[in-house]
Protein backbone atom coordinates (compact mmCIF):
# COMPACT_ATOMS: atom_id res chain seq x y z
CA UNK A 1 0.00 0.00 0.00
CA UNK A 2 1.04 3.60 -0.42
CA UNK A 3 1.71 5.44 2.79
CA UNK A 4 2.42 9.03 3.52
CA UNK A 5 5.05 9.75 6.09
CA UNK A 6 4.44 11.37 9.43
CA UNK A 7 6.22 14.40 8.07
CA UNK A 8 3.85 14.59 5.14
CA UNK A 9 0.93 14.24 7.50
CA UNK A 10 2.27 17.07 9.61
CA UNK A 11 2.63 19.27 6.55
CA UNK A 12 -1.05 19.12 5.86
CA UNK A 13 -3.42 21.43 7.65
CA UNK A 14 -5.74 21.35 10.66
CA UNK A 15 -8.10 18.53 11.43
CA UNK A 16 -7.75 17.11 7.94
CA UNK A 17 -4.34 15.84 9.04
CA UNK A 18 -5.97 13.84 11.83
CA UNK A 19 -8.43 12.41 9.35
CA UNK A 20 -5.54 11.46 7.05
CA UNK A 21 -3.72 9.62 9.80
CA UNK A 22 -6.91 7.91 10.92
CA UNK A 23 -7.47 6.77 7.35
CA UNK A 24 -3.90 5.46 7.10
CA UNK A 25 -4.23 3.57 10.36
CA UNK A 26 -7.53 2.11 9.15
CA UNK A 27 -5.84 1.01 5.94
CA UNK A 28 -3.01 -0.57 7.91
CA UNK A 29 -5.63 -2.38 9.96
CA UNK A 30 -7.25 -3.77 6.85
CA UNK A 31 -3.89 -5.04 5.68
CA UNK A 32 -2.38 -6.40 8.89
CA UNK A 33 -5.21 -7.12 11.34
CA UNK A 34 -5.64 -10.76 10.36
CA UNK A 35 -1.97 -11.62 10.83
CA UNK A 36 -1.71 -9.76 14.10
CA UNK A 37 -4.89 -11.25 15.56
CA UNK A 38 -3.62 -14.68 14.61
CA UNK A 39 -0.33 -13.91 16.38
CA UNK A 40 -2.22 -12.79 19.49
CA UNK A 41 -4.46 -15.85 19.27
CA UNK A 42 -1.39 -18.08 19.35
CA UNK A 43 0.00 -16.16 22.30
CA UNK A 44 -3.21 -15.92 24.33
CA UNK A 45 -5.48 -18.70 23.12
CA UNK A 46 -8.42 -16.34 23.58
CA UNK A 47 -10.02 -14.81 20.51
CA UNK A 48 -11.71 -11.89 22.26
CA UNK A 49 -8.56 -10.98 24.18
CA UNK A 50 -6.52 -11.28 20.97
CA UNK A 51 -8.77 -8.79 19.18
CA UNK A 52 -8.64 -6.39 22.13
CA UNK A 53 -4.85 -6.46 22.16
CA UNK A 54 -4.65 -5.81 18.42
CA UNK A 55 -7.19 -2.97 18.55
CA UNK A 56 -5.20 -1.37 21.37
CA UNK A 57 -2.04 -1.63 19.27
CA UNK A 58 -3.69 0.25 16.40
CA UNK A 59 -5.09 2.90 18.72
CA UNK A 60 -1.59 3.26 20.18
CA UNK A 61 -0.16 3.68 16.70
CA UNK A 62 -2.69 6.40 16.02
CA UNK A 63 -1.80 8.23 19.21
CA UNK A 64 1.92 8.01 18.55
CA UNK A 65 1.84 8.67 14.84
CA UNK A 66 4.17 11.67 15.07
CA UNK A 67 6.88 9.47 16.55
CA UNK A 68 6.78 7.02 13.68
CA UNK A 69 9.49 8.52 11.51
CA UNK A 70 9.35 5.75 8.92
CA UNK A 71 5.89 4.46 7.96
CA UNK A 72 7.53 1.33 6.61
CA UNK A 73 8.25 0.43 10.23
CA UNK A 74 4.58 0.50 11.16
CA UNK A 75 4.28 -3.26 10.89
CA UNK A 76 7.26 -3.86 13.18
CA UNK A 77 5.87 -1.30 15.61
CA UNK A 78 2.49 -3.00 15.59
CA UNK A 79 4.03 -6.44 16.10
CA UNK A 80 5.98 -5.21 19.12
CA UNK A 81 2.86 -3.52 20.47
CA UNK A 82 0.88 -6.73 20.12
CA UNK A 83 3.59 -8.71 21.91
CA UNK A 84 3.63 -6.16 24.72
CA UNK A 85 -0.16 -6.23 24.86
CA UNK A 86 -0.18 -10.03 25.07
CA UNK A 87 2.37 -9.89 27.87
CA UNK A 88 0.21 -7.42 29.77
CA UNK A 89 -2.91 -9.47 29.17
CA UNK A 90 -1.18 -12.57 30.47
CA UNK A 91 0.14 -10.63 33.44
CA UNK A 92 -3.41 -9.89 34.44
CA UNK A 93 -4.37 -13.51 34.22
CA UNK A 94 -3.91 -15.74 37.21
CA UNK A 95 -2.88 -19.03 35.83
CA UNK A 96 -4.66 -21.92 37.46
CA UNK A 97 -2.07 -24.05 39.27
CA UNK A 98 -3.90 -27.26 38.69
CA UNK A 99 -4.21 -26.99 34.94
CA UNK A 100 -2.19 -29.87 33.55
CA UNK A 101 -1.74 -31.38 30.18
CA UNK A 102 -4.06 -34.34 29.88
CA UNK A 103 -1.85 -37.37 29.80
CA UNK A 104 -3.43 -38.99 26.78
CA UNK A 105 -3.19 -35.74 24.80
CA UNK A 106 0.48 -35.40 25.59
CA UNK A 107 1.05 -39.02 24.71
CA UNK A 108 -0.52 -38.41 21.34
CA UNK A 109 1.56 -35.29 20.82
CA UNK A 110 4.70 -37.15 21.65
CA UNK A 111 3.92 -40.04 19.39
CA UNK A 112 3.22 -37.53 16.65
CA UNK A 113 6.80 -36.29 17.03
CA UNK A 114 8.24 -39.28 15.30
CA UNK A 115 5.76 -39.18 12.43
CA UNK A 116 6.09 -35.50 11.67
CA UNK A 117 7.90 -33.95 8.79
CA UNK A 118 7.77 -30.50 7.25
CA UNK A 119 4.99 -31.67 4.97
CA UNK A 120 3.03 -33.40 7.70
CA UNK A 121 -0.78 -33.19 7.46
CA UNK A 122 -2.85 -31.50 10.10
CA UNK A 123 -2.16 -32.48 13.67
CA UNK A 124 -4.79 -34.27 15.64
CA UNK A 125 -6.85 -31.76 17.60
CA UNK A 126 -5.75 -33.26 20.91
CA UNK A 127 -2.08 -33.15 19.94
CA UNK A 128 -2.28 -29.52 19.02
CA UNK A 129 -4.14 -28.69 22.22
CA UNK A 130 -1.45 -30.44 24.26
CA UNK A 131 1.36 -28.54 22.56
CA UNK A 132 -0.41 -25.18 22.87
CA UNK A 133 -1.23 -25.85 26.53
CA UNK A 134 2.43 -26.57 27.20
CA UNK A 135 3.50 -23.50 25.19
CA UNK A 136 1.29 -21.25 27.29
CA UNK A 137 2.82 -22.58 30.50
CA UNK A 138 6.27 -21.38 29.48
CA UNK A 139 7.66 -18.12 30.85
CA UNK A 140 6.81 -15.06 28.74
CA UNK A 141 10.12 -14.66 26.97
CA UNK A 142 10.49 -18.30 26.07
CA UNK A 143 6.96 -18.40 24.67
CA UNK A 144 7.46 -15.22 22.65
CA UNK A 145 10.79 -16.38 21.25
CA UNK A 146 9.29 -19.71 20.16
CA UNK A 147 6.20 -18.17 18.58
CA UNK A 148 8.21 -15.58 16.67
CA UNK A 149 10.67 -18.19 15.47
CA UNK A 150 8.39 -21.13 14.64
CA UNK A 151 5.10 -19.46 13.83
CA UNK A 152 6.22 -16.23 12.16
CA UNK A 153 9.59 -17.73 11.15
CA UNK A 154 11.39 -14.48 11.84
CA UNK A 155 15.20 -14.42 11.80
CA UNK A 156 16.90 -14.05 15.18
CA UNK A 157 17.87 -10.44 14.50
CA UNK A 158 14.25 -9.47 13.93
CA UNK A 159 13.09 -11.44 16.96
CA UNK A 160 15.71 -9.59 19.01
CA UNK A 161 14.35 -6.25 17.82
CA UNK A 162 10.74 -7.24 18.46
CA UNK A 163 11.48 -8.48 21.98
CA UNK A 164 14.04 -5.84 22.90
CA UNK A 165 16.76 -8.34 23.73
CA UNK A 166 20.04 -9.44 22.18
CA UNK A 167 20.39 -12.04 19.45
CA UNK A 168 22.37 -14.39 21.67
CA UNK A 169 19.64 -14.13 24.27
CA UNK A 170 17.08 -15.01 21.61
CA UNK A 171 19.01 -18.16 20.79
CA UNK A 172 19.43 -19.21 24.40
CA UNK A 173 15.82 -18.38 25.25
CA UNK A 174 14.44 -20.33 22.29
CA UNK A 175 16.75 -23.26 23.03
CA UNK A 176 15.61 -23.33 26.62
CA UNK A 177 11.95 -22.94 25.71
CA UNK A 178 12.07 -25.79 23.26
CA UNK A 179 13.76 -28.03 25.80
CA UNK A 180 11.20 -27.11 28.45
CA UNK A 181 8.36 -27.81 26.04
CA UNK A 182 9.76 -31.23 25.23
CA UNK A 183 10.31 -31.99 28.91
CA UNK A 184 6.73 -31.05 29.72
CA UNK A 185 5.30 -33.29 27.04
CA UNK A 186 7.66 -36.12 27.94
CA UNK A 187 6.92 -35.81 31.64
CA UNK A 188 3.21 -36.08 31.10
CA UNK A 189 3.63 -39.32 29.22
CA UNK A 190 6.02 -40.97 31.67
Amino acid sequence: MNLISAGQARDKGGSSRSRDVTAIVSALYAEHALGLIRLAQVMLGDRAAAEDVVHDAFYGLCRRWAYLTDPAKAQAYLRSSVLNGCRSALRRQIRQPDIAIVGSDALGALSALSALSADAPLLAREDRRAVMAALRRLPDRQREALVLRYYLELPDAEIARAMGIGESTVRSTAHRGLAALERMLTRETS
Partner: protein
Protein backbone atom coordinates in the same frame (compact mmCIF):
# COMPACT_ATOMS: atom_id res chain seq x y z
CA UNK B 1 14.52 -28.88 12.13
CA UNK B 2 13.83 -31.37 14.88
CA UNK B 3 10.56 -33.23 15.35
CA UNK B 4 9.71 -30.99 18.29
CA UNK B 5 10.23 -27.92 16.14
CA UNK B 6 8.00 -29.38 13.41
CA UNK B 7 5.34 -30.14 15.98
CA UNK B 8 5.48 -26.63 17.41
CA UNK B 9 5.31 -25.04 13.99
CA UNK B 10 2.31 -27.13 12.99
CA UNK B 11 0.50 -26.49 16.27
CA UNK B 12 0.96 -22.73 16.16
CA UNK B 13 -0.05 -22.48 12.52
CA UNK B 14 -3.19 -24.52 13.00
CA UNK B 15 -4.12 -22.48 16.07
CA UNK B 16 -3.64 -19.28 14.11
CA UNK B 17 -5.75 -20.62 11.25
CA UNK B 18 -8.72 -20.76 13.63
CA UNK B 19 -9.01 -17.01 13.05
CA UNK B 20 -10.80 -16.78 9.73
CA UNK B 21 -10.40 -13.69 7.54
CA UNK B 22 -14.11 -12.90 7.33
CA UNK B 23 -14.54 -12.91 11.11
CA UNK B 24 -12.32 -9.90 11.84
CA UNK B 25 -14.18 -7.08 13.55
CA UNK B 26 -13.51 -3.62 12.10
CA UNK B 27 -11.75 -0.99 14.17
CA UNK B 28 -14.19 1.06 16.21
CA UNK B 29 -13.69 4.46 14.61
CA UNK B 30 -15.78 6.16 17.30
CA UNK B 31 -13.16 5.35 19.92
CA UNK B 32 -10.14 5.95 17.67
CA UNK B 33 -7.94 8.46 19.52
CA UNK B 34 -7.07 11.81 17.99
CA UNK B 35 -3.64 11.39 16.41
CA UNK B 36 -0.77 13.37 17.87
CA UNK B 37 0.82 15.06 14.91
CA UNK B 38 3.76 16.81 16.50
CA UNK B 39 6.45 15.56 18.80
CA UNK B 40 6.87 16.84 22.29
CA UNK B 41 8.99 18.80 22.96
CA UNK B 42 8.77 20.42 19.54
CA UNK B 43 12.45 21.12 18.95
CA UNK B 44 13.09 22.17 15.40
CA UNK B 45 16.60 22.83 14.24
CA UNK B 46 15.63 24.79 11.21
CA UNK B 47 14.62 28.33 10.33
CA UNK B 48 16.24 31.65 11.15
CA UNK B 49 17.42 30.61 14.61
CA UNK B 50 19.54 27.70 13.35
CA UNK B 51 22.91 29.42 13.84
CA UNK B 52 21.94 30.30 17.39
CA UNK B 53 20.96 26.69 18.14
CA UNK B 54 24.21 25.45 16.60
CA UNK B 55 26.31 27.81 18.70
CA UNK B 56 24.39 26.84 21.80
CA UNK B 57 24.91 23.15 21.04
CA UNK B 58 28.67 23.62 20.64
CA UNK B 59 28.92 25.42 23.97
CA UNK B 60 26.88 22.71 25.67
CA UNK B 61 28.90 19.87 24.17
CA UNK B 62 32.17 21.53 25.17
CA UNK B 63 30.94 22.07 28.69
CA UNK B 64 29.66 18.51 28.99
CA UNK B 65 32.90 17.04 27.61
CA UNK B 66 34.93 18.87 30.20
CA UNK B 67 32.54 17.84 32.93
CA UNK B 68 32.29 14.14 32.09
CA UNK B 69 36.00 13.56 31.63
CA UNK B 70 36.24 12.07 35.10
CA UNK B 71 34.27 11.40 38.20
CA UNK B 72 32.64 14.67 39.01
CA UNK B 73 30.61 16.16 41.78
CA UNK B 74 27.46 17.95 40.77
CA UNK B 75 25.28 20.35 42.64
CA UNK B 76 24.57 19.18 46.13
CA UNK B 77 20.95 19.07 47.10
CA UNK B 78 19.94 19.59 50.69
CA UNK B 79 18.87 16.27 52.15
CA UNK B 80 15.86 16.65 54.34
CA UNK B 81 15.16 13.05 55.03
CA UNK B 82 12.84 10.65 56.70
CA UNK B 83 14.27 8.56 59.51
CA UNK B 84 15.30 5.15 58.29
CA UNK B 85 15.21 6.08 54.62
CA UNK B 86 18.57 5.97 52.85
CA UNK B 87 19.32 9.46 51.54
CA UNK B 88 20.99 8.40 48.29
CA UNK B 89 20.36 6.01 45.46
CA UNK B 90 22.23 5.08 42.30
CA UNK B 91 20.54 5.04 38.92
CA UNK B 92 21.90 3.68 35.65
CA UNK B 93 21.22 6.21 32.93
CA UNK B 94 21.85 6.55 29.23
CA UNK B 95 20.94 8.73 26.33
CA UNK B 96 19.74 5.91 24.07
CA UNK B 97 16.18 4.73 23.63
CA UNK B 98 15.20 2.86 25.62
CA UNK B 99 17.68 4.08 28.20
CA UNK B 100 18.11 0.62 29.69
CA UNK B 101 19.77 -0.56 26.49
CA UNK B 102 23.12 1.11 27.03
CA UNK B 103 23.70 2.67 30.43
CA UNK B 104 27.11 4.24 29.89
CA UNK B 105 27.01 6.16 33.14
CA UNK B 106 25.46 6.13 36.55
CA UNK B 107 24.25 8.93 38.72
CA UNK B 108 24.14 9.21 42.48
CA UNK B 109 20.89 10.94 43.38
CA UNK B 110 19.18 12.37 46.41
CA UNK B 111 16.24 10.21 47.45
CA UNK B 112 14.22 13.19 48.57
CA UNK B 113 14.89 15.71 45.82
CA UNK B 114 15.90 13.48 42.90
CA UNK B 115 18.86 15.82 42.32
CA UNK B 116 22.00 14.41 40.69
CA UNK B 117 24.79 14.50 43.28
CA UNK B 118 27.53 12.80 41.24
CA UNK B 119 27.97 11.23 37.82
CA UNK B 120 30.35 8.37 37.03
CA UNK B 121 31.22 7.10 33.56
CA UNK B 122 31.72 3.36 33.04
CA UNK B 123 35.47 2.66 33.16
CA UNK B 124 37.50 1.49 30.16
CA UNK B 125 37.54 -1.07 28.68
CA UNK B 126 34.06 -1.95 29.91
CA UNK B 127 32.09 1.10 28.89
CA UNK B 128 28.68 0.00 30.15
CA UNK B 129 27.11 -0.44 33.56
CA UNK B 130 24.86 -3.46 33.62
CA UNK B 131 23.82 -3.85 37.23
CA UNK B 132 23.53 -1.91 40.46
CA UNK B 133 22.60 -3.09 43.93
CA UNK B 134 22.54 -1.48 47.36
CA UNK B 135 24.41 -2.54 50.48
CA UNK B 136 23.83 -2.14 54.21
CA UNK B 137 25.97 1.02 54.00
CA UNK B 138 23.83 3.74 52.43
CA UNK B 139 26.86 5.29 50.71
CA UNK B 140 28.27 2.12 49.16
CA UNK B 141 26.80 0.32 46.16
CA UNK B 142 27.70 -2.73 44.09
CA UNK B 143 27.86 -2.16 40.32
CA UNK B 144 28.83 -4.33 37.36
CA UNK B 145 30.44 -3.13 34.14
CA UNK B 146 31.11 -4.89 30.85
CA UNK B 147 31.68 -4.03 27.18
CA UNK B 148 28.86 -3.17 24.85
CA UNK B 149 28.82 -4.80 21.44
CA UNK B 150 27.56 -3.63 18.11
CA UNK B 151 24.93 -3.02 17.02
CA UNK B 152 23.99 -1.95 20.49
CA UNK B 153 23.51 -5.19 22.35
CA UNK B 154 25.28 -6.44 25.39
CA UNK B 155 28.07 -8.91 24.67
CA UNK B 156 27.19 -11.68 27.07
CA UNK B 157 30.42 -13.51 26.44
CA UNK B 158 32.61 -10.53 27.35
CA UNK B 159 34.36 -10.20 30.71
CA UNK B 160 32.33 -8.57 33.44
CA UNK B 161 33.86 -6.83 36.43
CA UNK B 162 32.22 -5.99 39.74
CA UNK B 163 33.02 -2.69 41.48
CA UNK B 164 32.24 -0.93 44.70
CA UNK B 165 30.85 2.53 44.17
CA UNK B 166 31.50 4.70 47.21
CA UNK B 167 29.91 8.11 47.51
CA UNK B 168 31.35 10.73 49.85
CA UNK B 169 28.71 13.35 50.64
CA UNK B 170 31.29 15.74 52.09
CA UNK B 171 33.24 16.07 48.84
CA UNK B 172 30.38 15.10 46.53
CA UNK B 173 32.69 12.60 44.82
CA UNK B 174 31.84 9.01 43.91
CA UNK B 175 34.63 6.52 43.22
CA UNK B 176 34.81 3.03 41.76
CA UNK B 177 37.00 0.27 43.22
CA UNK B 178 37.20 -3.16 41.61
CA UNK B 179 36.17 -6.04 43.84
CA UNK B 180 39.01 -8.50 44.57
CA UNK B 181 37.41 -11.33 42.63
CA UNK B 182 38.19 -12.51 39.10
CA UNK B 183 36.44 -11.04 36.07
CA UNK B 184 33.51 -13.18 35.00
CA UNK B 185 33.89 -14.36 31.41
CA UNK B 186 31.17 -15.86 29.24
CA UNK B 187 28.49 -15.33 31.83
CA UNK B 188 25.39 -13.23 31.85
CA UNK B 189 25.14 -11.74 35.33
CA UNK B 190 21.45 -11.38 36.09
CA UNK B 191 21.59 -10.19 39.70
CA UNK B 192 23.99 -9.65 42.58
CA UNK B 193 23.62 -9.05 46.30
CA UNK B 194 25.97 -8.04 49.11
CA UNK B 195 25.68 -9.65 52.54
CA UNK B 196 24.67 -7.25 55.34
CA UNK B 197 28.17 -7.39 56.89
CA UNK B 198 29.74 -6.59 53.51
CA UNK B 199 32.02 -9.61 53.54
CA UNK B 200 30.26 -11.73 50.91
CA UNK B 201 28.86 -11.15 47.47
CA UNK B 202 26.40 -13.48 45.75
CA UNK B 203 26.11 -13.39 41.98
CA UNK B 204 23.32 -14.98 39.96
CA UNK B 205 24.52 -15.73 36.45
CA UNK B 206 23.96 -17.81 33.38
CA UNK B 207 26.75 -19.58 31.51
CA UNK B 208 26.19 -18.58 27.90
CA UNK B 209 27.79 -21.74 26.55
CA UNK B 210 25.96 -24.31 28.64
CA UNK B 211 22.94 -22.09 29.45
CA UNK B 212 23.27 -23.18 33.07
CA UNK B 213 22.01 -20.85 35.79
CA UNK B 214 23.98 -20.68 39.00
CA UNK B 215 24.50 -18.70 42.18
CA UNK B 216 28.09 -18.14 43.28
CA UNK B 217 28.93 -16.74 46.72
CA UNK B 218 32.34 -15.01 46.98
CA UNK B 219 34.15 -14.25 50.23
CA UNK B 220 35.77 -10.83 50.50
CA UNK B 221 38.64 -10.36 50.56
CA UNK B 222 40.24 -13.35 48.95
CA UNK B 223 37.57 -14.25 46.46
CA UNK B 224 37.06 -17.85 47.61
CA UNK B 225 33.84 -19.01 46.09
CA UNK B 226 31.19 -21.69 46.22
CA UNK B 227 28.71 -22.32 43.40
CA UNK B 228 25.27 -23.90 43.19
CA UNK B 229 23.92 -24.60 39.71
CA UNK B 230 20.46 -25.52 38.50
CA UNK B 231 20.53 -29.27 38.12
CA UNK B 232 20.60 -30.97 34.76
CA UNK B 233 17.29 -32.53 35.77
CA UNK B 234 15.73 -29.10 35.73
CA UNK B 235 12.08 -29.56 36.73
CA UNK B 236 9.66 -29.40 33.83
CA UNK B 237 6.83 -28.23 36.04
CA UNK B 238 7.42 -27.15 39.63
CA UNK B 239 5.81 -29.50 42.16
CA UNK B 240 2.77 -27.99 43.81
CA UNK B 241 2.78 -25.05 41.44
CA UNK B 242 2.19 -26.62 38.04
CA UNK B 243 4.00 -24.08 35.89
CA UNK B 244 7.31 -24.43 34.07
CA UNK B 245 10.13 -22.54 35.80
CA UNK B 246 11.74 -19.65 33.97
CA UNK B 247 15.05 -18.39 35.28
CA UNK B 248 16.20 -17.90 38.87
CA UNK B 249 15.94 -14.23 39.90
CA UNK B 250 15.78 -11.72 42.73
CA UNK B 251 18.53 -12.96 45.04
CA UNK B 252 18.87 -11.37 48.50
CA UNK B 253 21.02 -12.18 51.52
CA UNK B 254 19.46 -12.79 54.90
CA UNK B 255 20.50 -10.87 58.01
CA UNK B 256 22.45 -13.95 59.13
CA UNK B 257 24.99 -13.36 56.31
CA UNK B 258 24.56 -17.02 55.50
CA UNK B 259 21.28 -17.67 53.68
CA UNK B 260 20.24 -16.34 50.29
CA UNK B 261 16.66 -16.14 49.07
CA UNK B 262 15.94 -16.48 45.38
CA UNK B 263 12.93 -16.84 43.11
CA UNK B 264 11.99 -19.12 40.26
CA UNK B 265 10.92 -16.29 38.04
CA UNK B 266 8.05 -16.52 35.65
CA UNK B 267 4.84 -14.63 35.23
CA UNK B 268 3.49 -14.59 37.85
CA UNK B 269 6.47 -15.40 40.13
CA UNK B 270 6.47 -19.01 41.21
CA UNK B 271 8.04 -19.25 44.61
CA UNK B 272 10.72 -18.00 46.97
CA UNK B 273 13.47 -20.46 47.89
CA UNK B 274 16.20 -20.22 50.51
CA UNK B 275 19.73 -21.46 49.93
CA UNK B 276 21.99 -22.16 52.90
CA UNK B 277 25.47 -21.13 51.77
CA UNK B 278 27.04 -23.15 54.57
CA UNK B 279 26.20 -26.24 52.54
CA UNK B 280 28.64 -27.58 50.00
CA UNK B 281 28.30 -26.30 46.48
CA UNK B 282 26.19 -28.37 44.14
CA UNK B 283 22.73 -28.35 42.70
CA UNK B 284 20.81 -25.16 43.40
CA UNK B 285 17.30 -26.53 43.22
CA UNK B 286 18.09 -29.48 45.49
CA UNK B 287 20.12 -27.38 47.95
CA UNK B 288 17.28 -24.87 48.38
CA UNK B 289 14.04 -25.05 50.35
CA UNK B 290 10.72 -23.68 49.10
CA UNK B 291 9.69 -20.95 51.53
CA UNK B 292 6.72 -19.34 49.87
CA UNK B 293 4.55 -19.51 46.82
CA UNK B 294 2.00 -16.98 45.70
CA UNK B 295 -0.48 -19.66 44.75
CA UNK B 296 -2.07 -20.31 48.08
CA UNK B 297 -3.10 -18.56 51.25
CA UNK B 298 -2.67 -15.04 49.94
CA UNK B 299 -6.13 -13.90 50.95
CA UNK B 300 -6.42 -10.65 52.84
CA UNK B 301 -9.67 -9.07 53.91
CA UNK B 302 -11.55 -11.71 51.95
CA UNK B 303 -9.74 -10.93 48.71
CA UNK B 304 -6.87 -12.64 46.95
CA UNK B 305 -3.63 -10.66 46.59
CA UNK B 306 -1.59 -11.34 43.49
CA UNK B 307 2.17 -10.65 43.44
CA UNK B 308 2.94 -9.00 40.15
CA UNK B 309 6.69 -8.71 40.76
CA UNK B 310 9.23 -11.18 42.13
CA UNK B 311 8.82 -11.45 45.90
CA UNK B 312 11.88 -11.32 48.13
CA UNK B 313 12.64 -11.94 51.77
CA UNK B 314 13.27 -9.06 54.16
CA UNK B 315 16.79 -9.11 55.56
CA UNK B 316 15.56 -10.06 59.03
CA UNK B 317 13.79 -13.04 57.50
CA UNK B 318 10.42 -12.17 59.05
CA UNK B 319 8.57 -11.24 55.89
CA UNK B 320 8.27 -11.88 52.21
CA UNK B 321 7.45 -8.76 50.25
CA UNK B 322 6.15 -8.05 46.78
CA UNK B 323 4.30 -5.45 44.76
CA UNK B 324 0.90 -6.42 43.44
CA UNK B 325 -2.83 -5.99 43.59
CA UNK B 326 -5.99 -7.48 45.05
CA UNK B 327 -8.67 -9.34 43.17
CA UNK B 328 -12.31 -8.73 44.02
CA UNK B 329 -12.83 -12.11 45.71
CA UNK B 330 -10.92 -14.81 47.58
CA UNK B 331 -10.57 -17.11 44.59
CA UNK B 332 -8.39 -17.31 41.54
CA UNK B 333 -9.97 -15.67 38.52
CA UNK B 334 -8.64 -15.60 35.02
CA UNK B 335 -8.98 -11.88 34.43
CA UNK B 336 -8.83 -8.78 36.53
CA UNK B 337 -11.76 -6.36 36.42
CA UNK B 338 -10.98 -3.21 34.52
CA UNK B 339 -12.20 -0.94 37.33
CA UNK B 340 -10.21 0.36 40.30
CA UNK B 341 -8.38 -2.22 42.40
CA UNK B 342 -6.29 -2.03 45.56
CA UNK B 343 -2.59 -1.90 44.72
CA UNK B 344 0.37 -1.83 47.05
CA UNK B 345 3.14 -3.83 48.70
CA UNK B 346 2.20 -7.03 50.47
CA UNK B 347 3.97 -8.41 53.53
CA UNK B 348 3.61 -12.16 53.92
CA UNK B 349 4.52 -14.29 56.91
CA UNK B 350 7.01 -17.05 56.06
CA UNK B 351 5.81 -20.55 56.76
CA UNK B 352 2.10 -19.78 56.90
CA UNK B 353 2.19 -17.54 53.78
CA UNK B 354 -0.38 -15.40 55.58
CA UNK B 355 -0.73 -11.91 54.17
CA UNK B 356 -0.17 -9.58 57.11
CA UNK B 357 -0.77 -6.19 55.55
CA UNK B 358 -0.73 -4.22 52.31
CA UNK B 359 1.54 -1.21 52.70
CA UNK B 360 0.82 1.91 50.67
CA UNK B 361 -2.55 0.56 49.59
CA UNK B 362 -3.89 2.70 46.77
CA UNK B 363 -7.10 2.19 44.84
CA UNK B 364 -6.75 2.89 41.13
CA UNK B 365 -7.25 1.11 37.80
CA UNK B 366 -4.34 -1.13 36.88
CA UNK B 367 -2.10 0.15 34.12
CA UNK B 368 0.25 -2.41 32.57
CA UNK B 369 2.97 0.20 32.25
CA UNK B 370 2.66 1.24 35.90
CA UNK B 371 2.20 -1.91 37.93
CA UNK B 372 3.24 -1.74 41.61
CA UNK B 373 6.97 -2.37 42.02
CA UNK B 374 8.89 -2.59 45.29
CA UNK B 375 12.34 -1.03 44.93
CA UNK B 376 13.76 -1.18 48.46
CA UNK B 377 12.87 -2.40 51.95
CA UNK B 378 14.59 -1.75 55.26
CA UNK B 379 15.91 -4.89 57.00
CA UNK B 380 12.80 -5.09 59.20
CA UNK B 381 10.48 -4.09 56.33
CA UNK B 382 9.16 -1.14 58.35
CA UNK B 383 10.21 1.30 55.62
CA UNK B 384 9.64 0.74 51.93
CA UNK B 385 10.38 2.56 48.69
CA UNK B 386 8.53 1.67 45.53
CA UNK B 387 6.43 2.62 42.58
CA UNK B 388 2.62 2.60 42.78
CA UNK B 389 0.50 3.67 39.85
CA UNK B 390 3.61 5.20 38.26
CA UNK B 391 4.52 7.35 41.28
CA UNK B 392 7.52 6.79 43.56
CA UNK B 393 6.65 6.71 47.23
CA UNK B 394 8.28 6.21 50.60
CA UNK B 395 6.19 4.28 53.11
CA UNK B 396 7.29 4.73 56.70
CA UNK B 397 5.49 4.88 60.02
CA UNK B 398 2.17 4.20 58.35
CA UNK B 399 2.53 7.22 56.10
CA UNK B 400 2.94 7.21 52.32
CA UNK B 401 4.90 10.15 50.96
CA UNK B 402 5.74 10.88 47.33
CA UNK B 403 9.35 11.33 46.23
CA UNK B 404 10.64 12.52 42.84
CA UNK B 405 11.19 9.86 40.21
CA UNK B 406 13.07 11.25 37.18
CA UNK B 407 11.68 10.02 33.89
CA UNK B 408 15.19 9.12 32.75
CA UNK B 409 15.51 6.48 35.46
CA UNK B 410 14.30 3.14 34.19
CA UNK B 411 12.70 0.90 36.78
CA UNK B 412 13.92 -2.70 36.72
CA UNK B 413 10.70 -4.11 35.33
CA UNK B 414 10.75 -5.28 31.75
CA UNK B 415 14.48 -4.97 31.44
CA UNK B 416 17.36 -7.28 32.05
CA UNK B 417 19.20 -4.34 33.55
CA UNK B 418 18.04 -3.03 36.92
CA UNK B 419 17.83 0.74 36.80
CA UNK B 420 18.13 1.97 40.37
CA UNK B 421 19.14 0.76 43.82
CA UNK B 422 19.25 2.12 47.35
Amino acid sequence: MTAMEHLLRAATRETAAEVLPDTIKPLDMATMPIPRLSRRPAWRFGGPLSPLYAALAIVLVAALSATLATVIPARRAPVSGIAGVPPYYVALTATGTPAARHPAELTVRSTFSGAVLATVAAPAPYGTFTLVDGTANDRTFLVAAMPWGPPGWLVTSAPLRLFWLRYDPASGIARLTALPIPALDGRWVRAASVSPDGTRVAVLMQNMQTLTDSITAYNLPGGASRTWSVSAARPAVLPGIGVAPGDPAAIAWGADDRTISWVWSSNPPLGVYTLDTARAGGELDFASALEMTNWGGSVYGGRFFHCDSDPFRSANGKYFLCGGYQLPGPDFVTTVPSGPVTQGFALFEPGTQRLITIAGATTAPLRPSAMPYLLWASPDASTLIGLIDGHAVVISGGQTRPIPWPASVVPPRGSTIPGAAW
